[in-house]
């Protein structure tokens, strides 16, 4: 494959890349001017639909299709909620986009609002993203000053107000209805669906919820065209009629036991091995990898043997992972005990389960207790059976919870047990105590 020229990250590292002037000098807001002048909102939706853009937040739902779910001829208001609660462990691609090039994203927000006829856009940022917040605050002020936000944008009679909202530090706020609850000032307990946000979302009005990277892609789809976007990525799998394909560029985060952690932009479909060896500088300290998490820990675990799996929306599913997720690859080397990995994962979900649905609230806690016991050398073989059973039984896929947090909590557990069972069994039989540092208790 020829060397890929980044698009979303093209301005990263340039001097003063956050300012509207440099952004405009680099061709910024060209797409917005073009859309507002030449395209109707329906045409913008059609273009995004035709591009095959899928949500970058984790679930990979087609963005254009999502926009069409809004009620037709709604008297308004319609809201656009932007999900910047990037809380999946080891995921930081939104952060790069916001800190380095906020206007590229903001242009996507305005385009999306134009397409969906939203009057107000709420940008929900996780609490920890203070610098993003400040950068974005400045960018929004600049956009208002230049008439790109507010009343009568570009003289075309279309209005948009942007409000920034900050979370209070809960993973669950990244779930779209949890985010809307938090936005409304309530406890972020995900809502029962239906009604879906497109029908009844923020403040009980139709709402579109999109990810930051998704909206940054929208800017370039309008600017460079559908064909450019579809020129990269993976076409639909003919054997899978429900696969709309994985097109466009994607930001991949590489972290964990690699020599050069960071963010790279590549067309969808790069393999884990290529990411680690070519872009991550290989596994650290000359060791071999034991496994990796393909896209945030809720997507499950891949063994080293599965590293040739392409990271598109379909690929990780073929090796038993949940999906592409956020495209954040975390590598752990061969010296890492799988018991420690499992404990770290279960501890995270136990801490972040919102506490609403019984199976998730209690199941995540129980899994953590068992994982902790295994790590301390007091595990029982039947714990593995129970862990696997809980991993299979919690989530929206079996139907036992309201939101997908539990699917994400169960998936890495059942992956770990299935793929590393011999190691678990030998650890348990030998009563091996973990030698790694005890994680600070979160509670």
């Amino acid at each position: 494959m020829p060397e890929y020229e980044p698009v979303l990250l093209r301005r990263v590292g340039r001097p003063n890349s956050q300012s509207i002037d440099t952004y405009r000098a680099d061709g910024g807001y060209r797409a917005l001017e073009k859309a507002v002048a030449q395209l109707t909102p329906e045409q913008v939706v059609d273009q995004v639909k035709a591009s095959g853009l899928r949500g970058r937040g984790g679930a990979g739902f087609p963005t254009g299709l999502k926009w069409t779910f809004l009620p037709k001829n709604h008297p308004g208001p319609i809201y656009l909620a932007v999900n910047g609660d990037e809380s999946e462990p080891c995921t930081f691609n939104n952060r790069v986009l916001l800190e380095e090039d906020p206007h590229q994203f903001l242009e996507g927000v305005i385009l999306a609002a134009y397409a969906t006829r939203a009057w107000v856009a709420y940008i929900y940022l996780r609490y920890e993203y203070g610098r993003c917040y400040r950068t974005l605050e400045k960018a929004v002020a600049e956009a208002y000053a230049q008439g790109l936000l507010g009343r009568d944008i570009l003289g075309k009679g279309f209005h948009l107000d942007v409000h920034l909202a900050r979370g209070a530090g809960a993973y669950i706020c990244g779930e779209e209805t949890g985010l809307l609850e938090s936005l409304e000032g309530k406890r972020a307990w995900p809502r029962v669906k239906p009604p879906f946000p497109a029908v009844e979302g923020a403040f009980r009005k139709p709402t579109v919820v999109n990810n930051i990277e998704t909206l940054a892609c929208v800017t370039h789809i309008i600017d460079r065209g559908v064909d450019w976007f579809k020129s990269m990525g993976v076409p639909p799998d003919p054997k899978n009629p429900r696969d709309p394909g994985s097109y466009g560029p994607k930001l991949y985060n590489i972290s964990g036991h690699v020599n050069k952690p960071g963010t790279v932009e590549l067309p969808l479909g790069v393999t884990v091995r290529e990411l680690i060896d070519k872009y991550g500088g290989g596994v650290w300290k000359g060791r071999k990898a034991k496994g990796a998490i393909p896209g945030g820990i809720s997507m499950g675990i891949m063994t080293e043997a599965e590293f040739d799996t392409p990271l598109d929306f379909n690929g990780p599913g073929k090796v038993g992972c949940l999906g592409l997720g956020t495209g954040a690859v975390t590598v752990f080397d061969e010296q890492t005990s799988i018991a420690d990995v499992l404990y770290n994962i279960t501890r995270f979900f136990s801490h972040e389960s919102c506490g609403q649905c019984t199976p998730c609230r209690e199941g995540t806690g129980w899994m953590m207790k068992m994982a902790d016991r295994i790590r301390r050398g007091d595990g029982r073989l039947e714990d593995l059976k129970i862990l696997e059973e809980i991993g299979n039984a919690i989530g929206i896929m079996p139907g036992t919870t309201i939101c997908g947090l539990a699917d994400g909590a169960g998936w890495p557990v059942k992956n770990a047990i299935k793929k590393f069972r011999p190691e678990f069994e030998s650890l348990i039989r030998a009563g091996t105590k973990s030698t790694s540092l005890q994680l600070v208790s979160a509670h």
Binding site: I172, V192, S350, G355, P398
Partner: protein, 548 residues
């Protein structure tokens, strides 16, 4: 017409909008649930009501959903197929119960709820025999002061959030909240703002487990010793349907009984905790008569003939100077008997309505956070603090066409124009009492003052005869609430040994033989007084009968 198939059995639900729990219930299939309550919003979070659901396709085949779904959140439509007893549904329910017990302390032997706990019942019916959890349980400390009447046993909570939703949706006062996250989530209050609204006691009934307990009832009785009787709360003119729980003739608690015609699902704390006078040691326990200026205890055999004689004598002197006061705490039947007795002595005898205790304005819920009432009203505590003004008034209207007020009686008595006053009071002890010292002094100017009451009052201290009355829990009869709903009162406890029920006393005064039997007298009342005609059969079912 919609037909739902519940475990293979067709259930016709008509055109009603039901969820699957309700629809299955119509078919006699119980779907276990915690967080769902008919009066509260659906959150579908406890995941106890998981069932398998499918739809009948146009070609008659059934397409089942690939996952279990919560029945509370799924509307019943024509052709909906519900399966509650498949392996998958049973596994999901057992799994939820196992999860609920992971951090539950299982302290049933010392838990007040044991015996009526849904966690016990469901685990027995739908759960696993043993827990597979061997790790330490999370045990947050109890919150004994979450409300003046409520204690929270935090570790027993299963996070159904019914209590939280109740304070937000029904009382509107929103004191309760969920704090923390995940398995550490717990019910809490804002610091210094306890759950003390006038409907707070309902959260104890709503709690499916022993987390929220009523301090009033805590550790008083094991619930399996209690016997429950359907009755009506006597504390305001809403007339909430209640369960009266007693053991060995001691009243232990009142609980609301669902009645869409009366109050809905709940009751207020005034009524809930206001029954203790029934067990009071201060009660008037036997008839007394005044001899040598002193009230002395007497037997019914002495008192009744003397009373009959004195009243007859007073009527003979001047029938219009004899007044019977009927309190709004009398049942319709008692009012009817007493009115008949006096009117049979002379048509000139006057019947008056006893004092109608009124406190402030009708208090409606929900409130907003400033304490202002919000529409739509979901619960009303009425200003009129008596259960049966309407019923007694209708009896009075029938017998004399008009209703004489208590103030007129006091005035006439104070002017010395009365020969006899029979005050059938039966008031519960409430601030201020039903009669003031001045009013009592005025009444005492009447030579023959008879006071029939539950507890001593300024009037009973001055009366010539004091006759014990019994409370709502000790008698049978009919109360008519503010809206004209006639509800049957059933005897829950026996009155103290020497107390006769009010109705029995009136029968004895009439020299009518036999024991008082409410249905018989109710049928007589319905025959004589047209307002009560719908009660002609003498029986009233659990929800009551609307009179208009």
């Amino acid at each position: 017409m919609a037909t739902v198939h519940v475990n293979g059995q067709a259930v016709d639900i008509g055109t009603e909008k039901l969820n699957l729990i309700e629809a299955a219930d119509r078919g006699g299939v119980f779907i276990p649930h915690y967080c769902w309550h008919p009066a509260l919003t659906v959150v579908a979070s406890c995941r106890m009501c998981l069932v398998e659901v499918g739809d009948t396709q146009p070609d008659g085949s059934v397409k089942m959903q690939p996952r279990v779904v919560p029945a509370c959140q799924t509307p019943a439509k024509d052709g909906t197929v519900v399966v509650t007893n498949s392996e998958r549904a049973k596994y999901a329910q057992a799994q939820t119960l196992e999860s609920l017990l992971i951090n539950h302390p299982l302290d049933c032997p010392v838990c007040d709820k044991a015996g009526e706990c849904q966690l016990q019942d469901y685990t027995h019916k739908f759960g696993r025999a043993e827990s597979r959890m061997i790790d330490e349980k999370f045990a947050p400390p109890n919150k004994p002061n979450i409300g003046a009447q409520i204690e929270l046993f935090t570790d027993r909570c299963i996070m159904c959030t019914r209590c939280v939703r109740f304070t937000r949706e029904i009382s509107g006062t929103a004191e309760l909240l969920v704090n923390h996250r995940g398995e550490h989530a717990e019910i809490d209050i804002f610091p210094g703002q306890p759950c003390d609204n006038k409907l707070a006691g309902n959260v104890v009934d709503l709690c499916p487990v022993g987390a929220l307990c009523s301090k009033d009832f805590l550790y008083k009785q094991r619930v399996w010793y209690l016997k429950s009787h359907d009755s009506v709360c006597a504390d305001c003119s809403t007339g909430c349907s209640v369960h009266v729980d007693e053991n060995k003739d001691i009243l232990y608690r009142l609980r609301p009984r669902e009645n869409p015609l009366a109050q809905g699902h709940f009751m207020c704390d005034e009524g809930r905790f206001g029954f203790h006078y029934v067990n009071s040691k201060e009660r008037i326990l036997r008839p007394q008569l005044r001899r040598d200026g002193k009230l002395i205890p007497a037997t019914w055999e002495d008192v009744l003939p003397a009373l009959r004689r004195d009243i007859a004598q007073a009527v003979k002197q001047d029938g219009s100077a004899v007044v019977a006061v009927l309190s709004p705490f009398l049942t319709c039947e008692e009012g009817y008997l007493l009115a008949r007795y006096f009117k049979s002595l002379s048509g000139e005898v006057r019947l008056a309505l006893g004092p109608v205790p009124t406190v402030g304005e009708d208090d409606t819920y929900p409130k907003d956070r400033h304490g202002k009432p919000v529409e739509p009203v979901k619960f009303t505590i009425r200003a009129e603090k008596c259960p049966n003004r309407r019923g007694v008034e209708e009896v009075l209207r029938h017998f004399q066409g008009e209703v004489i007020g208590f103030d007129d009686v006091v005035r006439l008595s104070g002017e010395g124009r009365l020969k006899a006053v029979y005050a059938a009071a039966g008031y519960p002890p409430r601030p201020g009492g039903w009669v003031s010292a001045e009013q009592a002094a005025a009444l005492a100017k009447t030579p023959l003052l008879v006071v029939q009451d539950i507890l001593p009052s300024p009037a009973s201290a001055l009366a010539k005869y004091v006759v014990p009355a019994v409370s709502f829990a000790e008698k049978e009869g009919t109360f008519v609430n503010h809206a004209g709903l006639a509800q049957g009162l059933r005897r829950a406890v026996k009155p103290p040994a020497e107390c006769h029920t009010d109705g029995q006393v009136f029968l004895d005064l009439m020299e009518r033989r036999g024991l008082v039997h409410a249905p018989t007298i109710r049928a007589e009342l319905a025959r004589d007084v047209p307002f009560f005609a719908p009660l002609a059969s003498g029986t009233i079912d659990a929800l009551g009968v609307m009179l208009k």
